[in-house]
């Protein structure tokens, strides 16, 4: 019988590594990342899909990991903030002062990073549409706007 409580072994492909986890079908990806894999960069804030603090990339696309079951992630490439190494987005977030408390930052960076890969030439309309799914309570969003625009400009300059 289908059970929410039953636990099963599964393999997750996370940050380029294969990890075996024991999970219930009811476990969210967010909880599995944080509680089983020690990847605490994705943050719980609303656990309801409203804030984006838990954003990770699934096959390159930003997804709110509080809304995804861990079992749904099986067979997909999961990238959490811990999987980003010295990316332009991370560096630019520092240079632009794009955070204060930093609690929303992993989510914003994942979303921005995904955006810069999927829409390297995104205009402000697309940026706005994508980033509206993340909340920041500390900044007034200006520095985050500066950061994403600056990375997209760097990309464009590299293209030429």
């Amino acid at each position: 019988m289908f059970s929410l409580q039953k636990k099963e072994f599964m393999d997750l492909n996370i940050n380029g590594e294969k990890k075996s986890v024991v999970i219930r079908s009811a476990d969210t990806l967010l909880d599995v990342l944080r509680n089983q894999l020690g990847l605490t960069g994705a943050k719980p804030s609303c656990k309801n899909g409203d804030c984006g603090a838990c954003t990770v990339l699934i096959d390159g696309w930003p997804v709110k990991s509080c809304l995804m079951l861990a079992v749904e992630a099986v067979g997909h490439e999961i990238t959490s903030i811990e999987g980003l190494k010295e990316t332009a987005m991370q560096k630019t977030f520092i240079d632009c002062f794009a955070f204060q408390c930093g609690y929303c930052t992993s989510g914003f960076i994942m979303n921005c990073h995904g955006l810069s890969r999927i829409h390297p030439g995104a205009d402000y309309g697309i940026i706005r549409e994508w980033l509206q799914s993340n909340l920041c309570r500390c900044t007034g969003y200006e520095e985050i706007t500066d950061a994403i625009k600056s990375v997209l400009d760097q990309n464009a300059a590299l293209e030429q």
Binding site: K43, G49, D50, Y103
Partner: protein
């Protein structure tokens, strides 16, 4: 080594951790043998608890304990002890914690919580300020008169009513003031409760060790307060309560009071001291933990024809919710600054706190100023209109200046008040005020501007104190240890900059301990009130003097000269006259070894402290007193584009000019001000706690409680005036809260001009504007 001290925008020291997911917040930690707690919260706003049946819950495997209010007899509160940590006998607000389950996992705890049967007997609900003060209103606390007051003369309640605080200001001769007034305007205002919504929900881990030591890991702005409160409530030795605070994911005042820590301690106690983790869901964070106050107010201002204000009368009634917490202090702070930053010689203010069956309140960014500033700034607008005067000009005419006095009769000088006129003049240019406040741009669209002024000082206890410890490492870098929590503004970084400036060294060579541990960190009152850089900064400077003194002592022996001829800078000690004669600090910071092996000195440890001084509690009859050391003043503006057909609008620009005394880190300072402005726009335009009939919260989720989102933010204009506060480190003033204060008022002023109707409440949704235009009240 070059000097990188104050005035430089160095990124926050913890930046690399914050962009890699390695910054650890309290929820990120676990510990061996950890158990999980989950709270059962009230579904009524006011009801007697007839019974709580826990028998089904306790049977679930993996459940270790269930506690309810009946398990303990304890009342808490920083001013008056009126709040049981878990409801006892009755519930007083929707979301009030009623029981706690402790289990092996959060899932188990939640499952068991769902099986706890609470039988309620609903009571009549006090669902508004008006409802709280009307004759025959039900009482939220029948036993108000019997509660313990923590300090004498902090609270003045009316027994047999819901009025729990009354603060008075009586300045000058009001009668004379009205006689001198040729124009008198009057209005009433209404602002709802709202929420802090720090992105990190409140959470805590508690453990009681074998030897009785209590270890609390929590997300708080007030670790030393949590320590003291727990010791007091449970009769513990305070030094046996250790509170750890890592980086905090936002606070905004919401994490200044001991609440969840008390419940987690009780939960741990119920399971023989095992570590217990208690995390609030977003919904609980928004309903169970304290929120931001609501306010009803009435303002009457009289002025002579030339625009000079002659008299003013204020009535503030604060919705503190079901328990007082620091609501009574905000009620007092609002009275103390009631006039706004204007010279008014004849003033009367009555500021009340009332109990309601709403979530109780605690400190919120601005400590009450946000709300009453709305009232006074809207009334100023009305006055300008009645006088036929430019609203900005009216503010300039009345701006407080050195030589004037505040409502509590504090004498002002440039050091303690700064320069509001300069802020207003700069604002005027920055927002192009002279191009006109209302322009029809065609297509039913109107562009309009509104301005406001703000001021704020702190409301700290007269003996609030801070400490700092500096140690020198073998490589010549320094460690700085302070009791201030890093909640986001970059406090630890600015403190390193203050120290670097004094030692003429590079702030990047100063390591600041990010975690606060009450067992080893020097005390700091609380990370609140925009006072941290002021208080801790002064302690750091004091510690720097101590450090320099010790460095010079050793160096004078090594360099064979009196210490007076030496100077510290660039990581060295050198002779003032001949700087090439020097020794590196790293050679002497951990003892100096002579070539023959004989050594002197040892690790140099600088210690310093700071205590508030000259503060004076307010006199109950007149309000005379001094709550904080100095004000920071500012002027703000908002520009909107309003659609006259459907009352929707876009916020185009928001501007702030603050007298910061001295800007320590320009980009951090600008960021904090913009963040405050954004929050102020959110409060002015959409945020509110919605209480349905019966006091049930209708919008305790981020899906229904709207915040400003990316792209809804306007273009920000931020500028700083620098009039030094002579006892602030390098002249600085606290400005971390100020960005929010005048923004809702400036927004309402702009929208009132655009819609050509008086908008005296928030949130200003298109519907509210439309209804007001149609003559319906909210």
């Amino acid at each position: 080594m070059e000097t990188v001290g104050i005035g430089v925008s160095i990124p926050r020291k913890e930046s690399p951790d914050k962009v890699t997911g390695l910054a650890r917040y309290n929820t990120d930690f676990t510990s061996p043998g950890l158990l999980y707690a989950w709270m059962v919260t009230s579904i009524y706003a006011h009801a007697n608890i007839k019974s709580i049946n826990i028998s089904d819950a306790i049977k679930i495997s993996g459940v270790h304990a269930v506690i309810t209010g009946d398990s303990y007899s304890l009342l808490c509160g920083p001013v008056i002890e009126d709040r049981p940590p878990l409801a006892k006998g009755k519930v007083r607000y929707f979301g009030e914690p009623v029981a706690v389950v402790v289990a092996d996992s959060e899932e188990k705890a939640k499952e068991a919580a769902g099986k706890i049967m609470v039988e309620y007997e609903p009571l009549p609900v006090v669902n508004s300020i008006k409802g709280a003060i009307k004759k025959g209103s039900p009482l939220v606390h029948e036993n108000l008169a019997f509660y313990k007051q923590v300090k004498p003369n902090e609270i003045f309640f009316k027994p047999g009513t819901n009025i729990v605080q009354h603060v008075k200001i009586r300045k000058g001769d009001l009668k004379k003031g009205w006689e001198q007034s040729e124009i008198v305007v009057e209005a009433e205002f209404s602002l709802p409760q709202s929420n802090h919504i720090a992105m990190e929900p409140r959470n805590v881990r508690a453990e009681i060790k074998g030897d009785g030591q209590v270890v609390i890991n929590t997300s708080t702005q007030a670790p030393f307060d949590v320590q003291e409160m727990l010791a007091q409530y449970f009769n513990l030795d305070a030094t046996r309560v250790i509170v750890h605070v890592p980086l905090v994911g936002g606070g905004f005042g919401g994490k200044t009071t001991a609440q969840l820590e008390i419940i987690a301690y009780l939960a741990s106690k119920a399971v023989n001291g095992r570590p217990v983790k208690l995390i609030e869901s977003r919904e609980q964070d928004m309903t169970s933990s304290p929120c931001h106050l609501g306010l009803e107010s009435k303002v009457k201002i009289g002025a002579s024809r030339d625009g000079k204000i002659q008299a003013a009368q204020f009535t503030f009634i604060v919705d503190v919710g079901a328990y007082v917490d620091s609501g009574s202090k905000m009620t007092r702070a609002m009275a103390a600054d009631c006039t706004g930053p204007y010279k008014i010689d004849n003033v009367r203010c009555d500021s009340y706190s009332v109990y309601t069956n709403h979530t109780y309140v605690t400190a919120f960014r601005g400590f009450g100023r946000l709300s009453y500033v709305f009232a006074i700034e809207r009334t100023m607008e009305k006055l300008a209109f009645a006088l036929g005067m430019d609203p900005l000009e009216l503010r300039l005419i009345n701006a407080l200046k050195p030589g004037d006095t505040t409502p509590t009769l504090v004498g002002l000088n440039y050091s303690n008040i700064g320069n509001l006129s300069e802020c207003l003049s700069r604002l005027k240019t920055l927002i192009n005020w002279d191009e006109g406040v209302r322009t029809e741009t065609g297509n039913y669209k109107v562009r309009s501007k509104g301005v406001s002024c703000l001021w704020k000082t702190s409301s700290s206890p007269p003996d609030a104190t801070s400490g700092a410890i500096i140690t020198i490492n073998r490589d010549g870098t320094l460690n700085l240890n302070v009791g201030a929590v890093e909640i986001g503004p970059g406090t630890k970084t600015s403190l390193a900059q203050i120290l670097a400036e004094r030692l003429k060294m590079d702030a990047n060579k100063i390591h600041v301990a990010m975690e606060v541990n009450t067992g080893v960190s020097p005390n700091h009152w609380k990370t609140v009130a925009s006072m941290t850089n002021y208080m801790v900064g002064n302690a750091v400077l004091d510690a720097a003097e101590d450090l320099i003194h010790q460095i010079l002592k050793i160096a004078s022996i090594v360099l064979m000269c009196p210490p007076e001829v030496l100077e510290v800078g660039g990581g060295k000690v050198y002779m003032k006259e001949e700087p090439q004669i020097s020794i590196d600090i790293k050679e002497i910071g951990n003892g100096y070894e002579n070539p023959n092996g004989h050594s002197i000195g040892g690790q140099i440890i600088g210690r310093g402290n700071f205590i508030m001084h000259q503060l004076l509690p307010m006199d109950h009859a007149t309000g005379r007193g001094r709550l904080g050391p100095a004000w920071a003043v500012g002027a703000q503006a908002v520009e909107v584009e309003f659609d006259t057909r459907n009352c929707t609008y876009k916020i185009l620009k928001a501007a702030t000019v603050i007298d910061a005394g001295k800007v320590l880190n320009p980009k951090c300072a600008k960021g904090v001000v913009m963040g405050g402005m954004c929050m102020g726009l959110g409060y002015g335009s959409r945020e509110q706690n919605l209480y349905a009939q019966g006091g049930k919260r209708e919008n305790p989720q981020l899906r229904t409680y709207h915040l400003m989102r990316f792209g809804e933010n306007p273009e920000y204009i931020v500028d700083f005036v620098e009039t030094p506060h002579v006892i602030g480190p390098y002249g600085m003033r606290g400005i971390a809260e100020h960005g929010i204060i005048g923004i809702p008022a400036a927004l309402a002023n702009a929208l009132s001009v655009a819609a050509q109707v008086e908008l005296n409440c928030t949130p200003l949704t298109p519907e509210v504007i439309w209804r007001t235009k149609k003559g319906e009240s909210k």
